[in-house]
Symmetry: C2
Subunit: 239 residues, 2 copies
């Protein structure tokens, strides 16, 4: 094989050997009530791609990392630019770097967050729409796989941390908390068992206040603030 043959056989590697670029994307989960139902489901915002590759397909909000900004700052900025959303914190989910996930070599650092429905600005944003997480259309790149992974992490995490807090008001009833768990886990939970487990976990603090309405009054709870929300451990916020 001559030198020319090699060059012809591997043109993309030869031309773009140092062209790996870093992008960020975000998976923002919220709960919304299913039409005609008492139940909630997990939803997330997607953005229409306005250029190739995958022009016209839905994709996660995101964009390129700027030279002078941290990964998390890039995720916040591109999320705000595309969707208008500004969650109070973003947690790093995973770095996706498969060689063939994009026509050019792109490593995407994906962040995620939970927001309550009342934190979502009113009005529609151009090219953005909310989708049920479990019934997505085919997305650009490997974004279906990324959402699946984020859902898996959400379902795992809800079991051992107070992550559901990100979807609730500061004070909530046990029934409201159970509805969050039911939406995330996508199955019904026995109310009595749920109450017993949650009360035994030490993560909730009962208040003196009650939710009144058409049902009998239900006590309001709040999360024990001694437990950290983001589980960043010793990481400073500059990362």
């Amino acid at each position: 094989m001559t030198r020319t043959d090699v060059a012809l056989a591997q043109p993309s590697v030869a031309q773009t050997a140092d062209a790996t670029r870093v992008a960020v994307s975000t998976v923002i989960f919220t709960l919304r009530r299913l039409p005609g139902s008492e139940r909630f489901s997990v939803a997330l915002p997607l953005v229409t791609r306005t250029r190739d590759p995958h022009e016209g397909q839905w994709a996660l909000p995101g964009g390129w990392l700027d030279h002078g900004e941290s990964l998390e700052a890039a995720a916040s900025r591109t999320l705000a630019e595309t969707t208008g959303l500004a969650p109070s914190y973003l947690e790093q989910l995973y770095a996706f770097g498969a060689v063939d996930r994009s026509p050019t070599r792109v490593v995407s650092i994906v962040y995620w967050a939970l927001i309550r429905a009342d934190e979502i600005p009113d009005g529609s944003v151009e090219n953005t729409a909310w989708f049920d997480a479990t019934t997505l259309p085919p997305l650009a790149f490997d974004h279906n796989e990324i959402v699946d992974y984020a859902l898996w992490r959400l379902r795992n995490k809800v079991g051992y941390s107070r992550i559901a807090h990100g979807l609730l008001a500061d004070e909530f009833t046990l029934a409201e908390l159970r509805e969050v768990y039911e939406a995330i886990l996508d199955r019904r939970l026995d109310p009595a068992n749920f109450r017993r487990q949650v009360e035994g976990s030490g993560t909730l603090i009962p208040t003196d206040r009650f939710r009144t309405g058409s049902h009998r009054p239900a006590r309001l709870y709040r999360y024990n603030q001694d437990v950290e929300l983001a589980e960043r451990g010793p990481l400073s916020t500059r990362h």
Copy 2:
């Protein structure tokens, strides 16, 4: 301010706006017996840097991502090249991307793994040495912070997964398992309480075999293989 003033005020951004590079590093934990003690401690391999920045300082094993390899393949390759180590799996730890973590802009995807002492090849490797994780010298870049985060994850994870398995033979006594936990958590555990908690967790399967020696025979256990080791969830191995 003229156009020239702006260019002079921000020379580094203008010159290297697209120069973000992707690197990989690995944190490999093992247990080793403390000299003159029955106890174990967590240790990891470090490599002397042979070029600037930080020439002569200790750093985590790692290197640049090649254009045609996945993140995990790059981590495996650079780990083997620098230390000769080849753990059976690597798990992604975190992507570190602070703007000032290196003189040039570098995003490092860090992987980690646990290996048993008997998986470490005999003989020394040039420029490589093993260090106690809790008494490290000042390392290059933000590598002290990375090790601290990896230790935090290890200590958290040992509580809710079978991660200690990566440091044990296929069959082990409860005393051997407790020594692993004591080394990772860096504190003594009550043997009776530990036995009760582990036996109640459902993660261990007792065998018919016993460890015999100077003490009374101790039953050997193995981990329940139904529990996944790497906790990758729905991620395929190509990421």
